[in-house]
Symmetry: D3
Subunit: 181 residues, 6 copies
Amino acid sequence: MEVVVITKRGTLIGRMQPIHNGHISVIKETLKEMDEIIIGIGSAQISHTIENPFTAGERILMLSKALTEHNIDPSRYYIIPLEDIACNSLWVAHVKMLTPPFTKIYSGNPLVKELFQENHYDVITPPLFNRKEYSGTEVRRRMLNNGNWEKLIPKSVTKIIKDINGVERIKYLNQKEVSQL
Amino acid sequence: MEVVVITKRGTLIGRMQPIHNGHISVIKETLKEMDEIIIGIGSAQISHTIENPFTAGERILMLSKALTEHNIDPSRYYIIPLEDIACNSLWVAHVKMLTPPFTKIYSGNPLVKELFQENHYDVITPPLFNRKEYSGTEVRRRMLNNGNWEKLIPKSVTKIIKDINGVERIKYLNQKEVSQL
Amino acid sequence: MEVVVITKRGTLIGRMQPIHNGHISVIKETLKEMDEIIIGIGSAQISHTIENPFTAGERILMLSKALTEHNIDPSRYYIIPLEDIACNSLWVAHVKMLTPPFTKIYSGNPLVKELFQENHYDVITPPLFNRKEYSGTEVRRRMLNNGNWEKLIPKSVTKIIKDINGVERIKYLNQKEVSQL
Amino acid sequence: MEVVVITKRGTLIGRMQPIHNGHISVIKETLKEMDEIIIGIGSAQISHTIENPFTAGERILMLSKALTEHNIDPSRYYIIPLEDIACNSLWVAHVKMLTPPFTKIYSGNPLVKELFQENHYDVITPPLFNRKEYSGTEVRRRMLNNGNWEKLIPKSVTKIIKDINGVERIKYLNQKEVSQL
Amino acid sequence: MEVVVITKRGTLIGRMQPIHNGHISVIKETLKEMDEIIIGIGSAQISHTIENPFTAGERILMLSKALTEHNIDPSRYYIIPLEDIACNSLWVAHVKMLTPPFTKIYSGNPLVKELFQENHYDVITPPLFNRKEYSGTEVRRRMLNNGNWEKLIPKSVTKIIKDINGVERIKYLNQKEVSQL
Amino acid sequence: MEVVVITKRGTLIGRMQPIHNGHISVIKETLKEMDEIIIGIGSAQISHTIENPFTAGERILMLSKALTEHNIDPSRYYIIPLEDIACNSLWVAHVKMLTPPFTKIYSGNPLVKELFQENHYDVITPPLFNRKEYSGTEVRRRMLNNGNWEKLIPKSVTKIIKDINGVERIKYLNQKEVSQL
């Protein structure tokens, strides 16, 4: 009986475009309270936009390597891509379908919190860690403006972004359309 | 033969977030002209947003109780949830699939009117009843600002909104996100 | 508080292709136990097949007229079309989104029962009423074979099926394809 | 006014897996009655199965080259891929959305005929041309059994099937699964 | 072997709301470099909005007649409607599924270019032809403001737009909503 | 550069209803050849049927615990749920979107092999390990017939199936429908 009943499991969801140091800090903090955590990669179906440059597969790779870099025990987390769905009313059931059983959700998003509360989950707002710099928006802004984005993210994530030419991709997507088609 | 051929049936569609006194007045007015009416609950799949706080099921309950409160004969109307679809060109066929046969559509929305006109329906713009106050936008605005929203809607709808903690929901959803995930 | 908390509400789901006397008996029986019932029209998106000849809108019309014929108080039921969805895991949330709050589900289908039980609903198997004759399969079989299908269904449903040329439709669909396209 | 009103336009729909001599004969016959025809490639989204080996794009190429081979005036036809949709009730609107205006539909399929008749189109059953041999099922059967499939289809279609290794594809797909995953 | 291997085929994609002289010039230019071209009608599922007034079927008709008007050899092009899809990562495979094999893509849109480059296609930015006037936005603007839109588009397209009351449609859709539903 | 270029990564896909000893053997074998593997949980959206009793989340949990039980280094695999899609032609792009970059696919399924071969992946048929017993079909058959299913699967998977009442679920779903709705 113990796996389901006794293991304390909590869920965190983020788009992680890309993974940054703030994600790592929140994950470490959550692992102090939980036996295992589920890390949902949100908007998994979206990629190749300025706000969402990376595919779900690329983000899974980044997160996986970043957690290894930080010596976080891999038997304590699950990384699961979560596609958006059209109906907010179905979101909790959708997450539940794709994840091991859990009872706590860590989120600062009012919609996520409201939906899980209505479904009787414990909802916890995770603490913030240097939020002004450690944010996906700031990382992407620096990528577009040749700023120092590398210092905001784990080294292993930097490496992957370079391997896949991630900065070139976001700059390319940011070009003005030149077309009359 | 008379059910299909002789019964005069008309359709009204609204998001009804939530049902207000304007809806009731339009429904009463339409019932003066039609034998039976179909009331479509639009954007049925959307809920838990500031603009669309209530689920289709909650809106069906509200409308049903409000019409009973106003002593409108239940054998004269059908309440039918209508989900949005991606293609405007399929909208008329979608509505037709989900509703008893009808020949008239009551709407003030140019897109709805255009689509039904192209499909040879009679299109009628219903009269307005104190539109400035009797509007979903105004009701939701007052909910967020502790205004007197109750006076704009039927008593039975107020009761349901209180039962489901509807005002708390919309206020909760209106909070600023506090998250770096 | 009483609407949500005190009203005892139960849900029945059937494809109703078409509505027959068995449906009416089950509905009457259920209304002895419940204050209000929700009648879900299943597989609402399917029509024009041998197994599912009628559209959701036609079935809503049939059911509504049949319940009036049987003098069932219309303030005690809600008729709601329910489209199938791909994921069984989302089915309960899908039904919940489209219906007023309820706590009991009446069904003889193992999948429906399992899904609602896992979501902590009371599940009740409704009694059978002359199941051999009062079944959609039997009604459709008689339609195709010029049998006496009328005696298995309410008079008002017979009338609607004749108005919409329902028997011609099912016979037409039953023809062999003659095509090399 | 004449394009829409005066041009007589008819529609034919087939899966064309692959295009065979029967299709060509029906198209020629239809062009005797119509000014222009629309040729819908049905089940456009399906490919890589035994019954549906070719993609929509491959079928568009085959049909286009076959009609050129038969000296059919290209200003008199439109080739349009049509994906299947879940709801029969929306099928006519779906076809209408993707095609130039037309008034006649040529089909031997009872469902297609019923749906278009209910929407007030003229429905015509096209004649058959050596249906036993000129059929997609027969062509695919011969491909799997090293029979003479080439004589059933236009030369240009044979050429394309060879270019894309179509026979190898269908034989490969026909293998038994060897897996315990 | 030559159809697939030797024929030089390139693809152009545009929403063509509506087709204008700029489209025709780009198509003519592209045909100087390619043996055959594929012309994708983008956002095929969208119609009846101010930005996208025409259905895919109407746009196919317009383009077809315009190319005939300009004496472009119909055996050298394919006109194919392309619906939008939710995932950018699947876009190239989606286009590939619906089109004859091609190796070059002509586009000025950074997202399209990035996606096809990542899939190893040759990407070419087509030249601009009087882009300020020859643009869908400008044509629709003039339609709404009674300007001279006819001079920006082929005569045959003007005729079709008049036949289908296209200008009335866009003006009608542009009306302010008058409704409290 | 080394993550993407040098790491040898291969992909295995299975429905894993449930995970059995055959899966573990294939995974161990594959890890002899690859640096890292991606394990796709196929038909992730399906659950609560006789053939597919478990949700994707339950299968992720099972697989994760089974691999830990077998002391397989968690930094060498990624477990990723893969929902089915309607179009075979999009399958490879769909898998690619959701996974870290890989070059080899291990599969005994002709469709999967054909699709990946057409997209220039290396395709390898994995060896079989006591396939007659180590198969999902056999495990589910024994569950329904009170056979010794436990000996076919890892201990940790047995434990989870008991925790979630998995055998009761599959037996319940296997009951005959008793309903006239």
